[in-house]
């Protein structure tokens, strides 16, 4: 079975990097991953979306963009509404940034709302790493990628001067989840 993940938010929230890091991590775990992007021209205020499709094998690849997501991560309200239609009604997991989203757009069964942006600012000192904080949460909750892999990916994929702060954000997210959230089993 393929697993479809959609990550979306406003321009400037680091959505594309998030998708890239997650994709790389999944690849590292041996999955065949397709990671595509969409974004608008504005650096901020526009939209940004990263799709990840995890295929069981190369022979089975077909689609490039998410058709109906099994997992959806929305970092901002507007994009949640725009892309809600691309999420399965019975999606395995919905993650929302509670800083910007009050209510889920649809009555999805499993919704995890965490104020990533606020928490990142609080715990790491800058809202700019909300995305990687979220990845920490994701990593713990889903167990799809273990922290070691993710940390290695961060080290090799992020510009040197940004590595430290991102590692910090990842850890903070992971620990936050460990302390406050429950694991969710993802079928793949």
């Amino acid at each position: 079975m393929t697993l479809e993940i959609i990550i979306a938010g406003r321009g400037g929230q680091g959505i594309l990097l998030t998708g890239y890091l997650l994709g790389k991590a999944l690849v590292k775990k041996g999955y065949y991953v397709v990671n595509s992007e969409m974004y608008s021209a504005e650096t901020r205020g526009g939209f940004s979306r990263s799709d990840l499709i995890v295929f069981p094998s190369e022979a089975e690849i077909d689609i490039i963009k998410v058709r109906k997501a099994d997992i959806a991560i929305f970092m901002y309200k507007d994009q949640m509404h725009s892309y809600a239609e691309y999420v399965k009604p019975d999606a395995q997991l919905i993650i929302l940034d509670g800083t910007f989203i009050e209510e889920p757009a649809k009555p999805w069964p499993r919704v995890l709302k965490v104020p990533f942006t606020r928490l990142a600012e609080e715990k790491v000192g800058t809202y700019r790493v909300a995305n990687v904080f979220m990845l920490g949460v994701f990593s713990y909750v889903t167990g799809l990628v273990d922290p070691e892999t993710m940390e290695e990916i961060i080290k090799t994929s992020v510009r040197p001067k940004w590595i430290e702060i991102n590692l910090k954000a990842f850890d903070a997210g992971y620990n936050y989840a460990k302390e406050n959230l429950e694991k969710v089993e993802i079928k793949l």
Binding site: K24, V27, N35, S36, E37, E58, D62, I63, R67
Partner: protein, 381 residues
């Protein structure tokens, strides 16, 4: 050694060019091809290659031709507006039989269009952009891996046939990441020029070998006093208005491709063994079409997919074989009928119904949206 990497199409095509022996990249920035250029700007120098930003695309393609005559594997990457500007000297490359490689990442046209959108509006243009009759080879990938493979193949074709070769990719592949197996220079097989067999003075730079119709190539600096003549020329490269020479030259420019078709044409058929309906699609749209075919199969419909990999020339035999059992052929493409025209021409005489599904959108549709376009076109499936 072969590595598996998680790369965007642009990164993969850059890697492929390096593996194929790229020595000169000449670019002019344009979305969605700039990052291929930027990747090479980072990486190519460490392989001894040179990256140059020209003042415009016209300079780029002319420089490319000059670079091949000076002996380098040379490439550029562009999109619609840039390719349009290259039209004149694409004909130069064909006329001079210069083995240039162009990565053409299609975006949403016409004109400035939507720079960040994708498209498939350039099928005909990639074949007919320049004036006069000449030949080019055009490949179109549907995945990052295939983009990699086809850039390698493009270098092989360009140098084997001395023909400008285009990899007609798109904005989606350019920026989508997938796993691809990549190699280092020397690990992939790419044709080299046939060196001259006669000494300077006797060697004729446009005298074809009779078997493959491709003339051996002397490089600048080797003492052959080679004249790359953009006028109609004889085997020595000398301008002549002689009608017979003209006929011979123009016919050969096209025939050297058809004669060597086995090196060039390629296509893929899926679920066509028993297909009553065959969907024809290429590039990234074919990915959605494949998913749609799978859906329809699940509904018990005998539908297949035929996907050209070489767009110019098409694998006509492959197509004919794929539709053997089909009485219906549906061409879906992101324009108002370009590949369709070729398919209709080829299959028309067989009496099959050939329908067009135009998919006009700046975003790659998924299988569900694609089905919507079928409905909109009144094509029941």
């Amino acid at each position: 050694m072969a590595r598996r990497e998680f790369l965007t199409g642009n990164e993969a095509m850059a890697e492929a060019a390096i593996a194929a022996g790229l020595r000169v990249f000449i670019g002019y920035p344009i979305t969605p091809a700039s990052d291929l250029f930027e990747y090479l700007a980072e990486k190519l120098p460490s392989y001894g290659g040179v990256v140059f930003q020209a003042e415009d695309e016209i300079a780029a393609i002319n420089a490319l031709v000059g670079a091949t005559y000076a002996g380098a594997k040379a490439m550029t990457a562009t999109s619609g507006p840039g390719f349009s500007l290259m039209a004149e000297s694409l004909g130069l490359a064909a006329m001079l039989e210069a083995p240039i490689v162009i990565v053409y990442n299609m975006r949403t046209g016409p004109s400035t269009g939507i720079a960040t959108g994708t498209g498939q509006g350039d099928v005909m243009q990639s074949r007919w952009a320049s004036h006069g009759h000449y030949g080019v080879v055009v490949y179109s990938p549907w995945s990052v891996q295939e983009a990699y493979n086809l850039v390698v193949k493009a270098f092989d074709t360009a140098w084997r046939l001395r023909v400008p070769t285009i990899v007609l990719s798109d904005a989606v592949i350019a920026h989508t990441r997938e796993l691809a197996v990549v190699y280092e220079p020397g690990e992939v097989k790419v044709a080299d020029r046939k060196p001259p067999r006669e000494p300077p003075g006797e060697f004729k730079p446009f005298k074809p070998d009779p078997d493959d119709l491709v003339p051996p190539m002397a490089f600048y600096g080797e003492g052959y006093a080679v004249l790359a003549e953009s006028l109609v020329h004889d085997e020595r490269g000398y301008y002549t208005t002689d009608p017979e020479n003209y006929e011979r030259l123009v016919k050969r420019l096209e025939e050297k491709i058809t004669r060597n078709k086995h090196h060039v044409v390629s296509s893929e058929a899926r679920y066509t063994e028993d297909a009553e309906t065959v969907i024809v699609a290429f590039g990234t749209l074919a990915r959605s079409a494949l998913a749609l075919v799978k859906d329809l199969r699940k509904q018990g419909k005998k539908v297949g997919l035929w996907r050209p990999v070489s767009i110019w020339p098409l694998d006509e035999e492959g197509l004919s074989k794929a539709v053997e059992h089909a009485d219906r052929v549906i061409v879906a493409e992101m324009n108002l009928g370009q590949l369709y025209r070729e398919v209709a021409r080829i299959l028309g005489p067989t009496g099959r119904k050939i329908e067009l599904v135009p998919v006009l959108t700046p975003e790659l549709p998924g299988p569900d949206e694609l089905l919507g376009y079928f409905r909109k076109a009144g094509v029941e499936i």
